[in-house]
Amino acid sequence: MSDKITAGHVHMSGCTGCEVAIADNYAGLLTLLDKYVDWVYDLTLADVRHIPEMDVALVEGSVCINDKISVEEIRQTREKSKIVVALGSCACYGNITRFCRGGQQNQPQHEAFLPIGDIIDVDVYLPGCGPSPQLIKNVCVAAYLLLKGSDDQKALAEAYLKPLMMLSKRGTEACFCDLMYDVIDQGLCIGCGACAAACPVRAITHEYGKPQGQRDLCIKCGACYNQCPRSWFSFDVVNQYESIMETIDAAMAP
Protein backbone atom coordinates (compact mmCIF):
# COMPACT_ATOMS: atom_id res chain seq x y z
CA MET A 1 0.00 0.00 0.00
CA SER A 2 2.58 2.54 1.09
CA ASP A 3 4.32 2.03 -2.20
CA LYS A 4 1.37 3.37 -4.11
CA ILE A 5 1.03 6.95 -5.18
CA THR A 6 -2.12 8.89 -4.36
CA ALA A 7 -4.12 10.42 -7.17
CA GLY A 8 -7.50 11.89 -7.84
CA HIS A 9 -9.75 13.30 -10.51
CA VAL A 10 -10.74 16.94 -10.17
CA HIS A 11 -13.81 17.82 -12.20
CA MET A 12 -13.85 21.37 -13.54
CA SER A 13 -15.95 22.32 -16.56
CA GLY A 14 -15.60 19.25 -18.72
CA CYS A 15 -18.04 16.78 -20.19
CA THR A 16 -16.83 13.79 -18.12
CA GLY A 17 -15.43 12.36 -21.35
CA CYS A 18 -11.95 12.51 -19.84
CA GLU A 19 -13.07 10.53 -16.83
CA VAL A 20 -14.73 8.01 -19.12
CA ALA A 21 -11.41 7.78 -21.00
CA ILE A 22 -9.70 6.82 -17.72
CA ALA A 23 -12.33 4.14 -17.20
CA ASP A 24 -11.90 2.98 -20.79
CA ASN A 25 -8.68 1.33 -19.70
CA TYR A 26 -11.06 -1.37 -18.39
CA ALA A 27 -9.00 -4.11 -16.73
CA GLY A 28 -5.98 -1.80 -17.02
CA LEU A 29 -7.69 0.64 -14.67
CA LEU A 30 -8.10 -2.14 -12.12
CA THR A 31 -4.40 -3.00 -12.44
CA LEU A 32 -3.52 0.67 -11.97
CA LEU A 33 -5.68 0.89 -8.84
CA ASP A 34 -4.46 -2.46 -7.59
CA LYS A 35 -0.74 -1.90 -7.93
CA TYR A 36 0.13 1.75 -8.31
CA VAL A 37 -2.50 4.25 -7.36
CA ASP A 38 -4.70 4.98 -4.38
CA TRP A 39 -7.64 6.83 -5.84
CA VAL A 40 -8.29 9.38 -3.12
CA TYR A 41 -10.59 11.87 -4.76
CA ASP A 42 -13.21 11.68 -7.48
CA LEU A 43 -16.64 13.27 -7.32
CA THR A 44 -18.14 10.54 -9.48
CA LEU A 45 -16.52 7.52 -7.85
CA ALA A 46 -15.28 8.28 -4.32
CA ASP A 47 -17.20 9.61 -1.37
CA VAL A 48 -14.82 12.45 -0.51
CA ARG A 49 -16.19 16.00 -0.46
CA HIS A 50 -13.08 18.14 -0.14
CA ILE A 51 -9.89 18.08 -2.13
CA PRO A 52 -7.31 16.10 -0.14
CA GLU A 53 -3.52 16.08 -0.32
CA MET A 54 -2.42 13.92 -3.26
CA ASP A 55 0.63 13.10 -5.33
CA VAL A 56 -1.07 13.53 -8.68
CA ALA A 57 -4.20 15.50 -9.49
CA LEU A 58 -5.77 14.82 -12.87
CA VAL A 59 -7.83 17.88 -13.67
CA GLU A 60 -10.57 17.59 -16.26
CA GLY A 61 -12.21 20.66 -17.77
CA SER A 62 -11.56 24.37 -17.87
CA VAL A 63 -12.22 26.74 -14.98
CA CYS A 64 -15.39 28.81 -14.99
CA ILE A 65 -14.08 32.05 -13.55
CA ASN A 66 -17.64 33.16 -12.81
CA ASP A 67 -18.02 30.30 -10.37
CA LYS A 68 -16.40 30.88 -6.97
CA ILE A 69 -16.34 27.20 -6.04
CA SER A 70 -14.50 26.21 -9.20
CA VAL A 71 -11.90 28.89 -8.70
CA GLU A 72 -11.43 27.89 -5.04
CA GLU A 73 -11.13 24.21 -5.97
CA ILE A 74 -8.54 24.73 -8.67
CA ARG A 75 -6.46 26.81 -6.22
CA GLN A 76 -6.71 24.08 -3.61
CA THR A 77 -5.82 21.48 -6.19
CA ARG A 78 -2.57 23.32 -6.83
CA GLU A 79 -1.83 23.75 -3.14
CA LYS A 80 -2.55 20.16 -2.19
CA SER A 81 -1.01 18.24 -5.13
CA LYS A 82 2.60 17.49 -5.94
CA ILE A 83 1.90 17.10 -9.64
CA VAL A 84 -0.98 18.73 -11.45
CA VAL A 85 -1.88 17.11 -14.76
CA ALA A 86 -4.19 18.94 -17.15
CA LEU A 87 -6.26 16.01 -18.37
CA GLY A 88 -7.82 16.53 -21.77
CA SER A 89 -7.98 19.48 -24.10
CA CYS A 90 -10.41 21.63 -22.07
CA ALA A 91 -8.04 21.68 -19.10
CA CYS A 92 -4.99 22.24 -21.35
CA TYR A 93 -6.35 24.61 -23.94
CA GLY A 94 -9.96 25.51 -23.19
CA ASN A 95 -11.03 23.51 -26.24
CA ILE A 96 -14.79 23.53 -26.85
CA THR A 97 -15.44 25.60 -23.71
CA ARG A 98 -13.69 28.51 -25.47
CA PHE A 99 -16.85 28.86 -27.51
CA CYS A 100 -19.19 29.29 -24.52
CA ARG A 101 -21.14 32.52 -24.36
CA GLY A 102 -23.27 31.69 -21.33
CA GLY A 103 -27.04 31.49 -21.29
CA GLN A 104 -27.25 27.81 -20.45
CA GLN A 105 -29.52 26.38 -17.76
CA ASN A 106 -29.23 26.44 -14.84
CA GLN A 107 -26.37 28.92 -14.54
CA PRO A 108 -26.86 31.25 -17.51
CA GLN A 109 -24.40 33.76 -16.05
CA HIS A 110 -21.52 31.25 -16.25
CA GLU A 111 -19.97 32.41 -19.47
CA ALA A 112 -16.19 32.74 -19.08
CA PHE A 113 -13.99 29.67 -19.01
CA LEU A 114 -10.22 29.47 -18.91
CA PRO A 115 -7.77 26.60 -19.27
CA ILE A 116 -6.43 25.72 -15.85
CA GLY A 117 -2.97 26.94 -16.80
CA ASP A 118 -4.32 30.50 -16.84
CA ILE A 119 -5.15 30.20 -13.13
CA ILE A 120 -2.50 27.88 -11.67
CA ASP A 121 0.86 26.40 -12.64
CA VAL A 122 0.47 23.07 -14.35
CA ASP A 123 3.15 20.36 -14.45
CA VAL A 124 2.06 18.00 -17.20
CA TYR A 125 -0.27 18.30 -20.19
CA LEU A 126 -2.24 15.28 -21.32
CA PRO A 127 -4.21 16.72 -24.22
CA GLY A 128 -6.84 15.14 -26.42
CA CYS A 129 -10.59 15.41 -26.85
CA GLY A 130 -11.10 13.04 -25.22
CA PRO A 131 -7.60 12.11 -24.15
CA SER A 132 -6.89 8.58 -25.29
CA PRO A 133 -7.06 5.82 -22.65
CA GLN A 134 -3.62 4.71 -23.87
CA LEU A 135 -2.00 8.10 -23.26
CA ILE A 136 -3.59 8.20 -19.79
CA LYS A 137 -2.17 4.74 -19.08
CA ASN A 138 1.30 5.70 -20.32
CA VAL A 139 1.36 8.88 -18.25
CA CYS A 140 0.07 7.12 -15.11
CA VAL A 141 2.73 4.39 -15.34
CA ALA A 142 5.41 7.00 -16.06
CA ALA A 143 4.27 9.15 -13.10
CA TYR A 144 4.44 6.10 -10.84
CA LEU A 145 7.92 5.15 -12.06
CA LEU A 146 9.08 8.73 -11.63
CA LEU A 147 7.98 8.82 -8.01
CA LYS A 148 8.63 5.23 -6.94
CA GLY A 149 10.78 3.50 -9.54
CA SER A 150 14.43 2.46 -9.66
CA ASP A 151 16.99 4.97 -10.94
CA ASP A 152 16.79 3.58 -14.47
CA GLN A 153 13.02 3.67 -14.44
CA LYS A 154 13.06 7.22 -13.12
CA ALA A 155 15.31 8.32 -15.96
CA LEU A 156 13.07 6.65 -18.53
CA ALA A 157 9.92 8.12 -17.01
CA GLU A 158 11.48 11.56 -16.86
CA ALA A 159 12.48 11.41 -20.52
CA TYR A 160 9.01 10.21 -21.45
CA LEU A 161 7.22 12.93 -19.48
CA LYS A 162 9.57 15.75 -20.50
CA PRO A 163 7.72 16.77 -23.69
CA LEU A 164 4.41 16.77 -21.82
CA MET A 165 5.98 18.94 -19.13
CA MET A 166 7.32 21.30 -21.78
CA LEU A 167 3.84 21.55 -23.25
CA SER A 168 2.50 22.78 -19.92
CA LYS A 169 4.97 25.67 -20.14
CA ARG A 170 4.30 26.39 -23.80
CA GLY A 171 0.92 27.99 -23.28
CA THR A 172 -2.81 27.57 -23.05
CA GLU A 173 -3.82 28.24 -26.63
CA ALA A 174 -4.32 25.63 -29.33
CA CYS A 175 -5.69 25.69 -32.83
CA PHE A 176 -5.07 24.33 -36.31
CA CYS A 177 -3.17 27.62 -36.67
CA ASP A 178 -0.39 26.19 -34.47
CA LEU A 179 0.52 23.91 -37.36
CA MET A 180 0.71 26.95 -39.61
CA TYR A 181 2.77 29.03 -37.17
CA ASP A 182 5.13 26.36 -35.84
CA VAL A 183 5.33 23.70 -38.54
CA ILE A 184 4.12 24.67 -42.01
CA ASP A 185 5.26 28.31 -42.09
CA GLN A 186 8.55 27.22 -40.52
CA GLY A 187 9.23 24.95 -43.50
CA LEU A 188 8.99 21.79 -41.43
CA CYS A 189 5.86 20.00 -42.69
CA ILE A 190 6.50 16.72 -44.49
CA GLY A 191 2.92 15.81 -45.35
CA CYS A 192 2.86 12.73 -43.17
CA GLY A 193 -0.84 12.96 -42.31
CA ALA A 194 -0.64 12.60 -38.52
CA CYS A 195 -2.50 15.88 -37.97
CA ALA A 196 -5.47 14.81 -40.08
CA ALA A 197 -5.59 11.44 -38.33
CA ALA A 198 -5.59 13.10 -34.92
CA CYS A 199 -8.29 15.71 -35.48
CA PRO A 200 -11.45 14.67 -33.62
CA VAL A 201 -13.72 16.76 -35.84
CA ARG A 202 -12.12 15.95 -39.21
CA ALA A 203 -11.26 19.58 -39.79
CA ILE A 204 -8.03 18.68 -41.59
CA THR A 205 -7.73 17.36 -45.12
CA HIS A 206 -4.65 16.98 -47.29
CA GLU A 207 -4.56 18.86 -50.56
CA TYR A 208 -1.67 17.74 -52.72
CA GLY A 209 -0.11 16.23 -49.64
CA LYS A 210 -0.24 19.28 -47.40
CA PRO A 211 -2.68 19.83 -44.54
CA GLN A 212 -5.51 22.31 -44.92
CA GLY A 213 -7.61 23.16 -41.88
CA GLN A 214 -11.23 24.18 -42.02
CA ARG A 215 -10.78 26.64 -39.22
CA ASP A 216 -14.51 27.08 -38.67
CA LEU A 217 -14.70 23.43 -37.68
CA CYS A 218 -11.68 23.58 -35.38
CA ILE A 219 -12.57 23.23 -31.70
CA LYS A 220 -9.08 24.25 -30.50
CA CYS A 221 -8.11 20.94 -28.93
CA GLY A 222 -4.41 20.85 -29.85
CA ALA A 223 -4.47 17.23 -31.01
CA CYS A 224 -3.10 18.00 -34.48
CA TYR A 225 -0.20 20.05 -33.18
CA ASN A 226 0.77 17.54 -30.54
CA GLN A 227 0.45 14.53 -32.82
CA CYS A 228 2.62 16.12 -35.51
CA PRO A 229 6.16 14.69 -35.63
CA ARG A 230 7.47 18.14 -36.56
CA SER A 231 5.91 20.10 -33.67
CA TRP A 232 8.09 18.37 -31.08
CA PHE A 233 10.00 15.15 -31.39
CA SER A 234 12.37 13.46 -28.97
CA PHE A 235 14.72 10.92 -30.52
CA ASP A 236 15.85 9.99 -26.99
CA VAL A 237 12.37 8.74 -26.25
CA VAL A 238 11.01 7.59 -29.59
CA ASN A 239 14.13 5.59 -30.50
CA GLN A 240 13.34 3.50 -27.43
CA TYR A 241 9.70 3.03 -28.38
CA GLU A 242 9.88 -0.73 -28.25
CA SER A 243 11.38 -0.99 -24.77
CA ILE A 244 9.14 1.77 -23.41
CA MET A 245 6.03 0.00 -24.67
CA GLU A 246 7.32 -3.26 -23.22
CA THR A 247 7.99 -1.60 -19.85
CA ILE A 248 4.47 -0.19 -19.77
CA ASP A 249 2.92 -3.48 -20.87
CA ALA A 250 4.87 -5.34 -18.18
CA ALA A 251 3.81 -2.81 -15.58
CA MET A 252 0.19 -3.23 -16.65
CA ALA A 253 0.20 -7.04 -16.62
CA PRO A 254 -2.41 -8.07 -14.05
Binding site: S132, K162, G191, C192, G193, G209, P229, R230, W232, F233
Partner: protein, 291 residues
Amino acid sequence: MVQDNFLGNYSSCVAARSTNRAILAGSQDGGIVTQLFAFALEEGIIDGAIVAGPGDEPWRPRPMVATSVAELYAARGTKYNISPNVSFIKEATRSYGLDRVGIVGTPCQMQAVRKGQLYPVGLRDVPDKIALAIGIFCMENFPYQSIVQLVEDHANTKLENVTKLDIGKGKFWVYTERGAVVQLPLKITHKYEQPGCHVCLDYVANLADISTGSVGTPDGWSTVFVRSKKGTDIWSKAMAAGCFETKPIEEVKPGIELVTKLATEKITKNRKTIEERSSFGVGKGLRNPYI
Protein backbone atom coordinates in the same frame (compact mmCIF):
# COMPACT_ATOMS: atom_id res chain seq x y z
CA MET B 1 21.19 -6.58 -32.54
CA VAL B 2 23.35 -4.14 -34.47
CA GLN B 3 23.18 -0.55 -33.19
CA ASP B 4 24.35 2.01 -35.70
CA ASN B 5 24.21 5.80 -35.39
CA PHE B 6 23.04 6.22 -38.96
CA LEU B 7 21.36 2.94 -39.88
CA GLY B 8 19.54 2.48 -36.57
CA ASN B 9 19.00 -0.78 -34.71
CA TYR B 10 18.52 -3.95 -36.69
CA SER B 11 18.67 -7.66 -36.10
CA SER B 12 19.66 -8.48 -39.67
CA CYS B 13 20.33 -6.92 -43.05
CA VAL B 14 19.98 -8.90 -46.29
CA ALA B 15 19.57 -8.51 -50.02
CA ALA B 16 16.18 -9.89 -50.99
CA ARG B 17 13.51 -10.12 -53.65
CA SER B 18 10.05 -11.62 -53.78
CA THR B 19 9.77 -15.11 -55.26
CA ASN B 20 6.44 -14.10 -56.78
CA ARG B 21 6.90 -13.01 -60.42
CA ALA B 22 3.49 -11.30 -60.49
CA ILE B 23 4.46 -9.06 -57.59
CA LEU B 24 7.85 -8.24 -59.11
CA ALA B 25 6.23 -7.26 -62.41
CA GLY B 26 4.82 -4.04 -60.97
CA SER B 27 6.99 -3.42 -57.94
CA GLN B 28 9.61 -0.72 -57.65
CA ASP B 29 12.50 -2.94 -56.57
CA GLY B 30 12.41 -6.42 -55.04
CA GLY B 31 8.69 -6.25 -54.23
CA ILE B 32 9.46 -6.46 -50.52
CA VAL B 33 6.65 -4.21 -49.37
CA THR B 34 3.89 -5.77 -51.44
CA GLN B 35 5.10 -9.32 -50.76
CA LEU B 36 5.26 -8.76 -47.00
CA PHE B 37 1.80 -7.21 -46.84
CA ALA B 38 0.31 -9.91 -49.08
CA PHE B 39 1.82 -12.62 -46.87
CA ALA B 40 0.71 -10.86 -43.65
CA LEU B 41 -2.79 -10.42 -45.05
CA GLU B 42 -3.10 -14.07 -46.05
CA GLU B 43 -1.75 -15.23 -42.67
CA GLY B 44 -4.07 -12.93 -40.71
CA ILE B 45 -1.12 -11.00 -39.25
CA ILE B 46 -2.76 -7.85 -40.61
CA ASP B 47 -6.37 -7.17 -41.64
CA GLY B 48 -5.32 -4.53 -44.14
CA ALA B 49 -2.54 -2.11 -44.99
CA ILE B 50 -2.35 1.60 -45.62
CA VAL B 51 -0.55 2.08 -48.92
CA ALA B 52 -0.15 4.79 -51.55
CA GLY B 53 -2.93 3.94 -53.99
CA PRO B 54 -3.77 5.54 -57.31
CA GLY B 55 -5.13 9.10 -57.12
CA ASP B 56 -7.02 11.54 -59.35
CA GLU B 57 -4.08 12.47 -61.54
CA PRO B 58 -1.28 10.36 -63.02
CA TRP B 59 1.44 9.60 -60.46
CA ARG B 60 -0.43 11.44 -57.75
CA PRO B 61 -0.90 8.95 -54.91
CA ARG B 62 -3.84 8.80 -52.57
CA PRO B 63 -3.53 6.90 -49.29
CA MET B 64 -5.62 3.74 -49.43
CA VAL B 65 -6.53 1.03 -46.97
CA ALA B 66 -5.89 -2.15 -48.95
CA THR B 67 -7.74 -5.17 -47.63
CA SER B 68 -7.12 -7.47 -50.58
CA VAL B 69 -4.08 -8.64 -52.51
CA ALA B 70 -5.55 -7.01 -55.64
CA GLU B 71 -5.59 -3.64 -53.87
CA LEU B 72 -2.01 -4.14 -52.70
CA TYR B 73 -1.01 -4.82 -56.29
CA ALA B 74 -2.76 -1.65 -57.47
CA ALA B 75 -0.57 0.38 -55.09
CA ARG B 76 2.81 -1.10 -56.09
CA GLY B 77 5.66 1.14 -57.17
CA THR B 78 7.15 4.37 -55.87
CA LYS B 79 5.30 7.62 -56.34
CA TYR B 80 7.85 10.34 -55.76
CA ASN B 81 5.46 12.73 -54.12
CA ILE B 82 3.61 13.05 -50.87
CA SER B 83 1.13 10.40 -49.84
CA PRO B 84 -0.09 11.26 -46.33
CA ASN B 85 -0.47 7.60 -45.37
CA VAL B 86 -0.58 8.34 -41.65
CA SER B 87 -3.79 10.33 -42.16
CA PHE B 88 -5.59 6.97 -42.39
CA ILE B 89 -4.13 5.39 -39.28
CA LYS B 90 -7.15 6.05 -37.06
CA GLU B 91 -9.68 5.71 -39.85
CA ALA B 92 -8.30 2.25 -40.65
CA THR B 93 -9.33 1.14 -37.16
CA ARG B 94 -12.72 2.86 -37.39
CA SER B 95 -14.57 2.98 -40.71
CA TYR B 96 -12.50 0.07 -42.00
CA GLY B 97 -12.71 -1.81 -38.71
CA LEU B 98 -9.15 -3.16 -38.78
CA ASP B 99 -7.75 -4.59 -35.55
CA ARG B 100 -4.32 -5.25 -37.05
CA VAL B 101 -3.11 -2.47 -39.25
CA GLY B 102 -0.24 -2.55 -41.71
CA ILE B 103 1.27 0.71 -42.91
CA VAL B 104 4.04 1.59 -45.34
CA GLY B 105 5.74 4.94 -45.24
CA THR B 106 8.81 7.06 -45.44
CA PRO B 107 11.10 7.37 -42.39
CA CYS B 108 9.28 10.52 -41.24
CA GLN B 109 5.98 8.66 -41.44
CA MET B 110 7.45 5.93 -39.26
CA GLN B 111 8.43 8.66 -36.81
CA ALA B 112 4.82 9.85 -36.81
CA VAL B 113 3.59 6.29 -36.19
CA ARG B 114 5.93 5.67 -33.25
CA LYS B 115 5.34 9.07 -31.69
CA GLY B 116 1.66 8.29 -32.09
CA GLN B 117 2.02 5.01 -30.25
CA LEU B 118 3.92 6.58 -27.36
CA TYR B 119 1.92 9.81 -27.25
CA PRO B 120 -1.50 8.99 -28.72
CA VAL B 121 -3.02 12.46 -28.28
CA GLY B 122 -5.61 12.05 -30.98
CA LEU B 123 -5.19 8.35 -31.70
CA ARG B 124 -7.51 6.62 -29.32
CA ASP B 125 -7.23 2.81 -29.46
CA VAL B 126 -4.70 2.97 -32.29
CA PRO B 127 -1.37 2.23 -30.51
CA ASP B 128 -1.97 -1.47 -29.95
CA LYS B 129 -3.32 -2.04 -33.44
CA ILE B 130 -0.17 -1.29 -35.44
CA ALA B 131 0.73 -4.81 -36.53
CA LEU B 132 3.33 -4.17 -39.23
CA ALA B 133 4.99 -0.86 -40.06
CA ILE B 134 7.18 -1.08 -43.17
CA GLY B 135 9.54 1.80 -43.82
CA ILE B 136 11.01 2.71 -47.20
CA PHE B 137 14.39 4.41 -47.48
CA CYS B 138 14.07 8.05 -48.39
CA MET B 139 16.55 10.73 -49.36
CA GLU B 140 13.85 13.30 -50.12
CA ASN B 141 10.28 13.65 -51.32
CA PHE B 142 8.61 16.11 -53.69
CA PRO B 143 5.35 18.02 -53.95
CA TYR B 144 3.18 16.69 -56.80
CA GLN B 145 3.65 19.91 -58.74
CA SER B 146 7.43 19.36 -58.68
CA ILE B 147 6.98 15.97 -60.32
CA VAL B 148 4.78 17.56 -62.99
CA GLN B 149 7.48 20.12 -63.66
CA LEU B 150 10.32 17.59 -63.68
CA VAL B 151 8.60 15.07 -65.92
CA GLU B 152 6.67 17.35 -68.24
CA ASP B 153 9.01 20.34 -68.48
CA HIS B 154 12.48 18.97 -67.84
CA ALA B 155 12.04 15.43 -69.19
CA ASN B 156 9.56 16.59 -71.83
CA THR B 157 7.29 13.61 -71.22
CA LYS B 158 3.57 13.45 -70.56
CA LEU B 159 2.96 12.09 -67.05
CA GLU B 160 0.14 9.82 -68.20
CA ASN B 161 2.56 8.03 -70.51
CA VAL B 162 5.05 7.30 -67.72
CA THR B 163 5.30 3.68 -66.57
CA LYS B 164 7.94 4.10 -63.90
CA LEU B 165 9.81 6.83 -62.06
CA ASP B 166 12.98 6.03 -60.21
CA ILE B 167 15.85 7.71 -58.44
CA GLY B 168 19.04 5.72 -58.51
CA LYS B 169 22.68 5.80 -59.56
CA GLY B 170 22.68 9.56 -59.11
CA LYS B 171 19.86 10.20 -61.58
CA PHE B 172 16.11 10.72 -61.82
CA TRP B 173 14.75 8.22 -64.36
CA VAL B 174 11.57 8.52 -66.38
CA TYR B 175 10.38 5.38 -68.24
CA THR B 176 7.55 5.59 -70.76
CA GLU B 177 5.02 3.22 -72.31
CA ARG B 178 6.78 3.40 -75.65
CA GLY B 179 10.08 2.36 -74.18
CA ALA B 180 11.76 5.74 -74.00
CA VAL B 181 13.98 6.43 -71.00
CA VAL B 182 14.82 9.97 -69.96
CA GLN B 183 17.32 10.69 -67.22
CA LEU B 184 17.80 13.92 -65.35
CA PRO B 185 20.84 14.66 -63.23
CA LEU B 186 19.93 15.13 -59.57
CA LYS B 187 21.33 18.63 -59.60
CA ILE B 188 18.18 19.54 -61.54
CA THR B 189 15.81 17.83 -59.12
CA HIS B 190 17.29 19.20 -55.88
CA LYS B 191 15.60 22.57 -55.95
CA TYR B 192 12.19 20.91 -56.35
CA GLU B 193 12.46 18.90 -53.15
CA GLN B 194 10.02 19.27 -50.30
CA PRO B 195 11.70 21.75 -47.93
CA GLY B 196 10.72 19.83 -44.79
CA CYS B 197 13.00 17.01 -45.98
CA HIS B 198 16.05 19.17 -45.40
CA VAL B 199 15.83 18.77 -41.63
CA CYS B 200 15.14 15.03 -41.78
CA LEU B 201 17.52 12.89 -39.74
CA ASP B 202 16.63 9.41 -40.95
CA TYR B 203 17.46 7.74 -44.25
CA VAL B 204 16.59 4.06 -43.77
CA ALA B 205 13.45 4.22 -41.60
CA ASN B 206 15.12 3.37 -38.32
CA LEU B 207 11.78 3.16 -36.54
CA ALA B 208 10.06 0.69 -38.86
CA ASP B 209 9.51 -2.98 -38.02
CA ILE B 210 11.17 -3.78 -41.33
CA SER B 211 12.66 -1.24 -43.70
CA THR B 212 13.66 -1.55 -47.32
CA GLY B 213 15.03 0.33 -50.28
CA SER B 214 16.91 -0.16 -53.50
CA VAL B 215 20.23 1.27 -52.45
CA GLY B 216 22.94 -1.29 -51.77
CA THR B 217 21.67 -4.09 -53.98
CA PRO B 218 21.61 -4.85 -57.75
CA ASP B 219 18.64 -3.88 -59.95
CA GLY B 220 15.51 -5.83 -59.13
CA TRP B 221 16.73 -6.55 -55.62
CA SER B 222 16.21 -4.73 -52.34
CA THR B 223 18.17 -4.05 -49.19
CA VAL B 224 16.16 -5.13 -46.15
CA PHE B 225 16.71 -4.21 -42.49
CA VAL B 226 14.81 -6.40 -40.07
CA ARG B 227 14.47 -4.34 -36.90
CA SER B 228 11.89 -4.84 -34.15
CA LYS B 229 10.76 -8.06 -32.47
CA LYS B 230 7.54 -7.92 -34.48
CA GLY B 231 9.53 -7.40 -37.66
CA THR B 232 11.88 -10.25 -36.88
CA ASP B 233 9.00 -12.59 -36.20
CA ILE B 234 7.11 -11.70 -39.39
CA TRP B 235 10.26 -11.80 -41.52
CA SER B 236 11.19 -15.28 -40.32
CA LYS B 237 7.67 -16.55 -40.99
CA ALA B 238 7.72 -15.06 -44.49
CA MET B 239 11.12 -16.65 -45.13
CA ALA B 240 9.87 -20.01 -43.91
CA ALA B 241 6.91 -19.69 -46.27
CA GLY B 242 9.28 -19.16 -49.20
CA CYS B 243 8.22 -15.57 -49.89
CA PHE B 244 11.74 -14.32 -50.54
CA GLU B 245 14.96 -15.22 -52.22
CA THR B 246 17.86 -13.72 -50.23
CA LYS B 247 21.60 -13.21 -50.37
CA PRO B 248 23.91 -12.12 -47.60
CA ILE B 249 24.36 -8.36 -47.92
CA GLU B 250 28.15 -8.89 -47.84
CA GLU B 251 27.93 -10.79 -51.12
CA VAL B 252 26.18 -8.18 -53.23
CA LYS B 253 27.45 -5.00 -54.83
CA PRO B 254 27.50 -2.15 -53.93
CA GLY B 255 26.46 -3.45 -50.51
CA ILE B 256 25.80 -1.90 -47.15
CA GLU B 257 28.78 0.47 -47.46
CA LEU B 258 26.83 2.57 -49.95
CA VAL B 259 23.79 2.63 -47.66
CA THR B 260 25.98 3.80 -44.80
CA LYS B 261 27.63 6.41 -46.99
CA LEU B 262 24.34 7.88 -48.19
CA ALA B 263 22.77 7.79 -44.72
CA THR B 264 25.79 9.55 -43.26
CA GLU B 265 25.77 12.17 -46.00
CA LYS B 266 22.07 12.88 -45.66
CA ILE B 267 22.04 13.13 -41.90
CA THR B 268 25.25 15.17 -41.69
CA LYS B 269 23.99 17.62 -44.30
CA ASN B 270 20.60 17.97 -42.63
CA ARG B 271 22.13 18.44 -39.17
CA LYS B 272 24.04 21.32 -40.69
CA THR B 273 20.80 22.73 -42.11
CA ILE B 274 19.20 22.59 -38.66
CA GLU B 275 22.23 24.39 -37.28
CA GLU B 276 22.00 27.06 -39.99
CA ARG B 277 18.30 27.52 -39.33
CA SER B 278 19.09 28.53 -35.76
CA SER B 279 20.70 31.75 -37.03
CA PHE B 280 18.55 32.21 -40.11
CA GLY B 281 17.55 35.80 -39.45
CA VAL B 282 19.22 38.69 -37.76
CA GLY B 283 19.35 37.60 -34.16
CA LYS B 284 16.43 35.29 -34.92
CA GLY B 285 16.26 31.66 -35.88
CA LEU B 286 13.84 29.13 -37.30
CA ARG B 287 12.29 26.40 -35.17
CA ASN B 288 14.05 23.14 -34.42
CA PRO B 289 11.45 20.44 -33.82
CA TYR B 290 13.84 18.06 -32.11
CA ILE B 291 13.88 18.28 -28.34
